[in-house]
Subunit: 334 residues, 2 copies
Amino acid sequence: MNPTIKDVARLARTSKSTVSRYLNGQPVKKNTEEALKSAIKELDYHPNINARRLVQSRTQVVGIVADDISNNFYSGILRGIEKVTNAHRYHCVYYSGTSNHQSEIDFLDLVQEGQVDGLIFISFSKRSQELLERIRDITIPIVLVGDGEADQQILSVDVDNQYGIHELIHYLHRIGHEKVAFIAGPNDIAATEYRTKGYKNALEELGLEYKREWIVGSDWSKEGGYKAMKELLKFGGFTALVASNDETAIGALLCAHELGFRVPQDFSIVGFDDIEIARWIYPTLTTIRQPLYEMGEKAADGLINIMKNTDEVMKERVLIRPELIVRNSCKNLL
Amino acid sequence: MNPTIKDVARLARTSKSTVSRYLNGQPVKKNTEEALKSAIKELDYHPNINARRLVQSRTQVVGIVADDISNNFYSGILRGIEKVTNAHRYHCVYYSGTSNHQSEIDFLDLVQEGQVDGLIFISFSKRSQELLERIRDITIPIVLVGDGEADQQILSVDVDNQYGIHELIHYLHRIGHEKVAFIAGPNDIAATEYRTKGYKNALEELGLEYKREWIVGSDWSKEGGYKAMKELLKFGGFTALVASNDETAIGALLCAHELGFRVPQDFSIVGFDDIEIARWIYPTLTTIRQPLYEMGEKAADGLINIMKNTDEVMKERVLIRPELIVRNSCKNLL
DNA sequence: CTGAAAGCGCTAACAT
DNA sequence: ATGTTAGCGCTTTCAG
């Protein structure tokens, strides 16, 4: 059996309460402190965190649930979260949706079971109405990163997808492009809708030509981008291509190269995300940088507020504007 | 306040013990079961896991500590672990070394504090003697993935780095290469030593020429590979290059291309790891595939054994042999 | 199959 | 500054 607070008390010739107080940073007399210190060391005492959590009914940990915890893409988000939570003396514990249970719904229990004080769910998939309703019903401290709904009383943080595409197309327009094709994303990804809408809206805003054949779907993989490009080239006629993520942009690039086209001389191509390799391919890719770190910060900030304030906290959908990164994959037509 | 087992008992007109038994799958009479079920539903009762853990002094969770939890490279390892742990009804909880605390040493407490029943540490950095000694001293259930020591009484799992390089060089030799250069890795990575040793040993075994100028260091990044290749080309004279990871292989490839060389016509290049992009670059990269899933399985298997058996378990260093993946980056000289 | 009672290790009044 | 006491919510004998 592990040593307990009681063993420490006995060895240090004092009481449990004093030990407890010492452990929690409250003042004790100099010589009892000495005794305590050496007793703890001698016994190799470690406080039982379950007992503490039972009586305090809080854990000082926030649970982070990601659909795939080792998704490199989330790295920036996690760092943003950690920075904020650590500043408030919370620890982070991670749960991977790909393991343990199945869907995010199953992790809702973590708070009610007393495992964590609050939750951050990270995923870019669309979230079910069922999950959203459950969250609204049980009123536990939670914030969503990725999909969410504006009118539900849930705090959610996401990149402003529509704005990002908007930036891309305005940039292309500024350098003289009038005919812009688009590779859309998968239907189960929340961003797909917003990015596609962003494309259509920007076209309309700028009075650019819209052709049904200039939009083609993809699964957001390199293969998908490759195939999409092949499809688009059957019709042709565009001078620029907006791929709705960098992976498909890379696939499209490869396809163009293989078919003997040169980028950006023959086509301009832009992506979305600014994944690490975007600056390593040839030509380096003009794209939109995801504000991952800020998203993490905002999410954690929001969660801390919800956990601390018993009174009303703004539960809204926060969209963070991403940044245009100009590299060498576009040709100036002017 | 959350409802407790007591509330459920009262509502179902029975005792705490019966509720507890029901919750833990022990037999209860049909009609008490009904009453319990509806009481639990009505109260939205969730068992307090801290109370349970306090009394049972086990958690049924294994903690996984990774130096960078969102490192895509670990994904396969994590899936291997999850498969095994879930089969034994353990849950996985992840801790990221980049956050919360600093080094792996700080996470050793998790077991003694009762947060987890066992630990798996994942990292490819060299591990300090201090950590290894602490682990040996405190006898908690733990297994290491990555660096470890053969003679310490600690179970550790790693890829057989030396064997991997050996495979690569024997392959090159089989297709006629006699002059083989090498890009080494960073000093703080445990594998660097073994891969470099593998290079030297294989050369010796096959009676191939060894030149000090044909080994150059790198930080394992693409930039590092690029620079290393540039360095190597100052001396030249080799027909094949073994990059000790895929990233540097890609950097070296880029460098060769930029200087007007063609791969594999002018040089053969091989990597190590088989990262996702290895099959996407031009030419597709011949490399060694890390047995990540198996490593995860072995690690979890070992941990489960340690946790279950009070008696002696084999604490050894397990090296898993990786597989050669032949693609198009090597020229057959015969 | 069920209930009463003890106790897991800790914190938090309360009293001194 | 310290000791005494009660109790957090659960499991687990032990009786019945």
